[in-house]
Subunit: 156 residues, 2 copies
């Protein structure tokens, strides 16, 4: 896969899977909405502060973020850290009409937070080959990227 | 979700995601074909012995197996161990016509193996609630189950 094909896989995805180890040492996966990206290295996910994955990520932010397309047999696993943010800029950016259903007190709801996933490397998989993605490749590629809703961009 | 609804989610899935920690301490996810199940507690996955997830699982078999349906917002994360087996009975059972493309030497190809995932507990998620699945619930439910191809059964 070229780096642009990896980016397209990420951008056209509505969901990703986050992998982490919980406080009992168990491997864990959660499926999450993930549409805000800055290139390959930064990904934002709105979620409930009270959820078990947030509680665990606050204890250890070592995580992976996995995008895949079962139809095209493409996947990329990004390795890095998942930090829990209550930055109002991020919370405003990711807020959608109707989110009051999940967060009754709106953008400032204490149960509303944003996971900021930062990748330091990765590995991609496709029928025609697999290879690593280095920190340098991600940094170089992301220089030209802005933070945007990749799903909206791809599906418009 | 009822235990039968969880089983239906697993049976109708063609793929699952396996989560583990690699030798560098990084969280990892791989998307895998996973259609052979004995109830909720035992799942078989055919794969390449040389693949990086097999190498890592041989070092530490602590893993999770995650089934999800993005359309119905259902998911179950099973916690347990992923053991690498070369049992010929399993290898015959999971062999499909055309697999020579992946394993040129057939069923006895040294690069062909079966991951046996055994769940000791789990957690399920749906729009209407989430809860734990205990070892006792899994053991009790699986008493009535046989090892079968859930995907074929559900889609026939």
């Amino acid at each position: 896969m070229t780096i642009n094909e990896i980016r397209n896989l990420i951008d056209r995805s509505l969901f990703a899977s986050i992998g982490y180890t919980d406080e009992n040492g168990r491997q864990n996966i959660r499926r999450i909405f993930c549409v805000w990206h800055k290139g390959l290295g930064t990904h934002l996910i709105s979620t409930n502060t009270s959820s078990s994955h947030v509680k665990n990520l606050l204890k250890s932010n070592n995580a992976c973020l996995y995008f895949s397309d079962d139809a095209s047999f493409e996947a990329v696993c990004l390795y890095g850290k998942a930090e829990v943010s209550t930055d109002r800029h991020y919370k405003e950016l990711l807020w959608n009409d109707g989110d009051e259903k999940y967060y009754p007190n709106g953008i400032d709801d204490a149960d509303y937070c944003v996971i900021v996933f930062t990748a330091d490397s990765g590995r991609y998989y496709r029928y025609d080959g697999k290879a690593d993605l280095s920190a340098d490749e991600i940094t170089e590629f992301d220089k030209e990227c802005i933070l945007e809703n990749g799903y909206s961009k791809t599906n418009n």
